[in-house]
């Protein structure tokens, strides 16, 4: 896969992209203490538990912050700017913030957003990915 598209088979983070390929939003959740562990780590930082299955969550959150990016910091982004790089708190996964892009514009602090799936594209390659959109 061409950088900066993700490697779907990267061991630590691949589960996120495999879920996205099925239009699902999933994060690792500790089997012993039920805490979401994001970003992924080999063991739960709270209890040390080694079992962290990818757990599907409701695709809804609130917009925590964003930046409208005008400068193409990587050549790959030249055809995409300006875009809204955004961070959203995920309602049903306490402590988890999803980094993504807000589609459809109109960013507002703490606004409800839904996660919708679309394609991250680069040249001939594409990857199914979760994006954010404000709830009307």
């Amino acid at each position: 896969m061409i950088f900066p598209l993700p490697d779907l088979d990267e061991p630590l983070t691949g589960g996120f992209w495999h879920a996205a390929a099925r239009d699902l939003l999933a994060f690792p959740q500790c089997a012993s203490c039920e805490r979401f562990c994001w970003y992924p780590e080999p063991r739960c930082p709270a209890c040390g538990g080694p079992d962290l299955p990818w757990t599907e969550v409701r695709p809804a959150g609130t917009l925590y912050s964003w930046s409208v990016v005008h400068h193409a910091f990587l050549p790959a982004f030249a055809a995409q700017v300006p875009f809204v790089a955004a961070v959203a708190a995920i309602d049903s996964a306490p402590g988890v913030r999803l980094v993504s892009r807000l589609l459809g514009g109109d960013p507002a602090m703490d606004a409800p957003v839904r996660v919708e799936f679309g394609w991250l594209r680069l040249g001939e390659d594409r990857v199914r990915a979760p994006f954010l959109r404000r709830v009307p």
């Binding site: 993700p6 970003y39 930046s67 005008h70 400068h71 602090m109």
Partner: protein, 390 residues
């Protein structure tokens, strides 16, 4: 659950002074290597202290950055074959603040008498060749490469623009207040020989009229990319009294760590820095309060980081740094002169080492007795309080 902690450094093993400071020229792409520039800064610092390379028996650098003046390079450059105590916990960023604490142990137990710490970057030169630079190391980190970069939440200007936006929401910080930081810092650079932006004054109107890079940031909210180096020589306070410069001693050191490291998106206290953990330890060690500090040099990769550190170190209440900047308090001659050389924003991007050399320069002169360096890597912050010895 708290989001970070302070590292238990313990008291200084002995009184430490910064007895010599030196820099290599800060420039746009120079074609020089980091090692060349580091050697030049080290030579200047040794001479400034009134010492010779043969007097140096301790060396600090940071191996995470290429081309630093490590032990092999130092020995080759100076044909130095005497004993050499070494530490890879030196360099810029937080280490420019904690190096004196590390050095104190070696000075106390007799491992070394004169220790030099240096840091150099050739990122302006490397950028011309599209390699190196601050973004590259982040793109190599698997979680960032897999979970942030694909969406374009990358590199540092985008992270900190996002943090600034939240700070504006939580505390009412304005674009104009960010602009005051950029304008004040630039003003200081215009007064500083050797500052990269010395001949480029900036007005608030010009700041506001400039296009956004990553909203709310304009180019002037972001650090320069430059080539250059800095170094300082440490010895005991006792020995420093026999050297040629006014004695500037270490009064306090603190180190704070964020549990989310450089994953800013996941940091629970999104608009804070680990200075909230580092600062109190340094102030306690120094036995002073923020109100006693005369001059501040704060690691300022972005305007918002200056504001957050002012707040997190207790120079104002959380959220009040924007109005503080707007009031003019950060200017030379005002209450809290901050980044008096022009900082990373307008002086040079040598990752804090020039902040420390500037702080020492200020404390040698009249008008400032106590000064503070705020170091920052994102994952960690350090506080170094220096004082002119009586």
């Amino acid at each position: 659950m708290t989001w970070g902690h302070s590292e238990p450094l313990g008291d200084l093993a002995t009184g430490v002074a910064i007895a010599g400071i030196g820099e290599a020229p800060h420039t746009r792409a120079s074609g020089r290597t980091a090692a060349e520039m580091a050697a030049e800064a080290v030579a200047a610092a040794i001479a400034d202290a009134g010492l010779t390379p043969a007097d140096i028996d301790g060396l600090m650098w940071h191996p995470a950055f290429v081309g630093q003046l490590d032990a092999d390079a130092f020995r080759r450059h100076y044909r130095h074959d005497g004993p050499l105590w070494t530490s890879a916990q030196g360099g810029g960023m937080v280490w420019a603040g904690t190096a004196p604490h590390t050095a104190a142990r070696a000075l106390a137990d007799g491992s070394a008498r004169h220790i030099v710490n240096s840091f150099a970057v050739a990122w302006a030169t490397q950028r011309s060749a599209m390699e190196g630079g601050p973004g590259q190391s982040h793109a190599q980190k698997v979680t960032k490469r897999q979970l942030e970069v694909p969406f374009g939440w990358f590199p540092q200007p985008v992270y900190f623009a996002t943090i600034a936006r939240r700070h504006m929401h939580e505390y009412g910080t304005t674009v104009e207040q960010l602009g005051h930081v950029a304008v004040t810092t630039r003003h200081h650079a215009t007064l500083t020989p050797g500052a990269v932006m010395r001949d480029r004054p900036l007005t608030l109107d010009a700041y506001l009229a400039s296009p956004p890079v990553a909203e709310p940031f304009r180019k002037e909210d972001c650090s320069l990319i430059s080539d250059g180096a800095g170094a300082y020589v440490m010895t005991t306070v006792e020995r420093a009294r026999d050297l040629r410069r006014p004695v500037v001693e270490v009064a306090g050191v603190g180190l704070g760590t964020s549990h989310t490291g450089s994953h800013w998106a996941q940091q629970p206290a999104f608009t804070s820095t680990p200075q909230v953990f580092a600062g109190p330890d340094a102030f306690a060690m120094a036995g002073i309060t923020p109100s006693e500090v005369d001059v501040l040099e704060l690691y300022d990769p972005f305007t918002i980081v200056t504001l957050m550190q002012l707040e997190d170190l207790g120079f104002c209440a959380k959220g009040e740094a924007g109005p503080l900047a707007e009031s003019g308090a950060l200017r030379i001659g005002a209450r809290l002169p901050t980044n008096t050389h022009g900082g990373l924003l307008s002086h040079s991007y040598v990752l804090g080492i020039a902040h420390v050399t500037e702080l020492v320069r200020r404390l040698r002169g009249p008008g400032a007795e106590i000064g503070l360096y705020g170091g920052y890597t994102g994952a960690q912050a350090s506080t170094l309080i220096l004082r002119r010895a009586r």
